[in-house]
Symmetry: D2
Subunit: 311 residues, 4 copies
């Protein structure tokens, strides 16, 4: 990475970039399918950078909590890869871009379920090892805490209950997967795990740490603890690069060029391989379900610091 400025200026840079892009929140809308999300403040904006040398640069509402939502798909993917290996997981799931769930003819289900879709993530939830559902959830939670470097991370139960109550489309996907033999087991348990993992509360700072661990190939640079095997890092980063931003992944790769994953809670977790993790929070979403200010901020940041994978 050939940086255009001293790191000591990063704080000022974040402020400048955020201020320049805040106006875009007027063009988006906070998610409204459950009350807890609908009450988010579209003016909230927080960002954190956490690099491998232990430096943290933050601005705005970087400590504000919000639900992780689809960013948990990355957590699930890592656990799935650790539990079963790449061959098994990618034999189960597709590794190509998909259109919306349900937009398929029978026989072409492969298009439905890359690991960053709901179908793929629900399938992975069905595969997470554990003696019972408590143990499975505990594994997801404790793994998320390690990735975020934050022991206090927990579930927003109000959001979980709302997700569960309004989750008919996900139930439909789960039964479809079951009818095609893609998943086994108790669907209510599997979906509970899925809805709970989506309801984990994080901050932009937590996401920056998660990005950092994945950027650093599974090793916590502060403690040298191996959180996941180095060999998985490339696959995880690649899945984020290709599918991480819903149907906007192609455009986002052109503009930002970093492995990233977004959630409808308003978060984006991004990373610069071997270098740093980035967490952004701004809950006003564009029509693809991505944080509208978040994307603009990451575009600018990628440009200003020359972070694009393709230089």
């Amino acid at each position: 990475m050939e940086s255009l400025m001293e790191k000591s200026d990063y704080g000022a840079l974040l402020k400048k970039i955020v201020e320049r892009n805040m106006v875009y929140n007027k063009l988006g809308k906070v998610a409204s399918y459950i009350p807890a999300l609908a009450r988010s403040n579209p003016e909230d904006i927080g960002i954190s950078l956490w690099d491998v040398d232990g430096n943290i640069y933050s601005y705005g509402d970087y400590d504000k909590k919000f639900t992780i939502q689809s960013i948990s798909k990355v957590v699930g993917l890592i656990i799935g890869l650790m539990d079963h290996g790449e061959d098994y997981i990618f034999n189960k799931l597709s590794v190509e871009a998909t259109r919306e769930a349900f937009d398929f003819v029978e026989g072409s289900l492969e298009k439905l379920d890359n690991p960053m879709t709901n179908a793929g993530a629900i399938t992975i939830c069905s595969l997470i090892k554990g003696d019972n559902s408590e143990e499975k959830l505990e594994r997801v939670l404790s793994f998320t805490r390690k990735l975020c470097g934050n022991e206090n991370i927990g579930i927003n139960h109000k959001v979980f209950l709302s997700e569960k109550e309004t989750g008919n489309k996900n139930k439909s996907i789960a039964y479809l997967l079951k009818s095609m033999g893609k998943i086994q087991g108790d669907l209510d348990e599997i979906l509970d795990l899925y809805f709970k993992q989506c309801s984990i509360e994080v901050s932009a700072r937590d996401l920056a740490h998660m990005g950092l661990i994945i950027a650093n190939k599974g090793v916590n640079p502060e403690t040298n603890e191996e959180i996941f095997p180095k060999a998985l890092a490339k696959t995880i980063q690649a899945a984020m690069t290709i599918f991480g931003m819903y149907n906007e992944s192609g455009k986002y790769f052109l503009d930002v060029g970093l492995p990233s994953k977004s959630g409808v809670g308003g978060g984006i977790m991004a990373l610069v391989p071997n270098t740093m993790g980035i967490g952004v929070y701004s809950p006003a979403l564009n029509e693809r379900g991505n944080s509208i200010v978040g994307i603009e901020v990451l575009k600018d940041l990628s440009k200003e610091l020359s972070l694009h994978l393709l230089g």
Copy 2:
């Protein structure tokens, strides 16, 4: 109807037509998704004609019991129309041909659910009036008994349990409908009703009587009892004509030209307006899910007796 033969010869005609077409069962396969259906005998063949003057002509295994399956969609449609009226029902459901369930992009769900699809029939099950699920089931059963003129009709509980156990695709459809606001209420109850109505046991003779009542616009010609309002007859017959034979409805209308409904149990219920009902049973199915001998027999019968709606 300009008949080509005396009614007294109908018995011999049925025998001749059946014998001529029995060979086609070699080209089909009995449904195998549940054990109870897989054990059907592909050599079984039964047919009954029941006319408005009270004459019955039958041949073969016309008294053998099998599950009604999708033919119950006609029963459900009539109850739905009686409970809510045409406007309400056809506001809820589509009235155009559909492709397979799930083959749609969001926004075009209208294509999914005409009353002869699983999605349409599940929606109707959610609308059947009754204080509780027992009462709703009792209404369906008692109405089926009246249509069939047979008080002994009941449910095959083994088939019901199998349908329920393997019914993940129908559960998926139900949750999708719920997620789109098409149905309300307890899905397990709604699906239980749906699976139970599919598991009602009938004979070819029962289906002939059902066809007769619909042909005679809701009135039992023997007792003059009005089983459903005359004004609904045209709609019911039209829905059968347009959608009754899955994705083979167009070809079937060209060849046979009668309002009909098939089920994967091997039954076909057909009718000649104002004249007679016809029930056929032969469990070997073609790839569209229709009784292969059943269709051939009805083609011949339509030709020999000049029954085609278009003359």
Copy 3:
């Protein structure tokens, strides 16, 4: 047909029905993809009934000329059936309802091309016999004249040139059909024939006569001339019944219940088997491309004279 009134009152009935339904033209729009159609007067309304006894009842602009458009698909189908027989034609084309052209995945082309779609009609144009394109066109024209009982019928060349010029979607369909081996030969010639047959000018009175010939199984009741073989009548009427009104065929069958074919020129040709032909012209179309007043008038007519196939 159990009529509710004396035939002597038919003229008054037509007037009453038209006046009652004229207001619906406000809800529709004339076709605008070519200037000649865009200049149609949405207030125009004409209707003719022509029965097998030679009686004609007409009202309004029943002599006004407009282009036949998709109603020519029926003409093409009859010629195709005469030239090649049913087996050949329905081996080539589908006999099930379709969605829009191009809405298919490869391998399911069968869904594209029933004889009442553009794909099906273009395929049939490629099959019409003749030593050269002039002869093929002459056969189509002369056959249309016989069906309409009108020697003066010809092509609107302005419309033809516009259709040809704006016909890129039809060219796209033709090349797709060719790429899949469905059609052979010079596509420009085939498409010219297709665009020309769509540009034939007729009146509501002409369409009533066409309906009469098809209703009377190919025989002109005035002259006893056999215009097409009796054996084809059922197939032609069936194709009209199932597919004749674009994506509104199901709803139309419920409401009107007569073999019919519409065109975006504003015409509808309908028929009562063995009894009469009906032609309607009113160029304001609904979103499905059908004459909006035309459908309302036919609904009322079917009800008042009890014309529905299902009684």
Copy 4:
């Protein structure tokens, strides 16, 4: 790039990797839709690496000529970007993954035409500047020659004529695009240009040079000539990364992780940003249309030299 070996060993490495993977050609098939391609020798294998320091490493049939086919989409994209700028081009085309052409419902055409699909490439052909078709072709040819560093590059006219003759599906796509207002102008000319650019003959060595120029952001490292503006490099590399390998782009990115483009002629052009270009030729294709040995060779090469974008 942290290389695992001395460059002096690259020649031996290429030999070893090729020998290890040659067996895979048994699992593939050469393209057969035109005779010229069908006559390719599935045992052919050639590879070249060309780095920014001017070193070339080659093995096998690296000088054998074959048609560039879809790799020309990259050439077209660059010219399009130079002629019209990014905003104009990506306003015209999609930047998300697509399914097969024609697998769409109207209104969602955006899914059809990213710059690496036939629809996208045909659209770009319609936009290439030039006073007449000769000039446009000359621009494409001369630009290809510069990219390949080879003045002798020309068109295989036999292949061009075959492509044109069998190109009905592409014609269908072109007319569809025209009908939707996506392209203007004479389609025959546009398609001729498209078929001609697909019929340009190159070698693996030529493709390695093309990759080198794109890797080096448009500058020929030998002559310092700017072949295209530096600012376009990221976009071109990104489009190759996301869409370059047909429906196998996601899996390929996981496994190889380099901007690449394949063609059904058997070529793959890949690149390591700022470092080197790679050309591979092996005409046996997998079911996605990609060189089967080519992909295996690139997988090994990426691993052995640690070339993956994600480290």
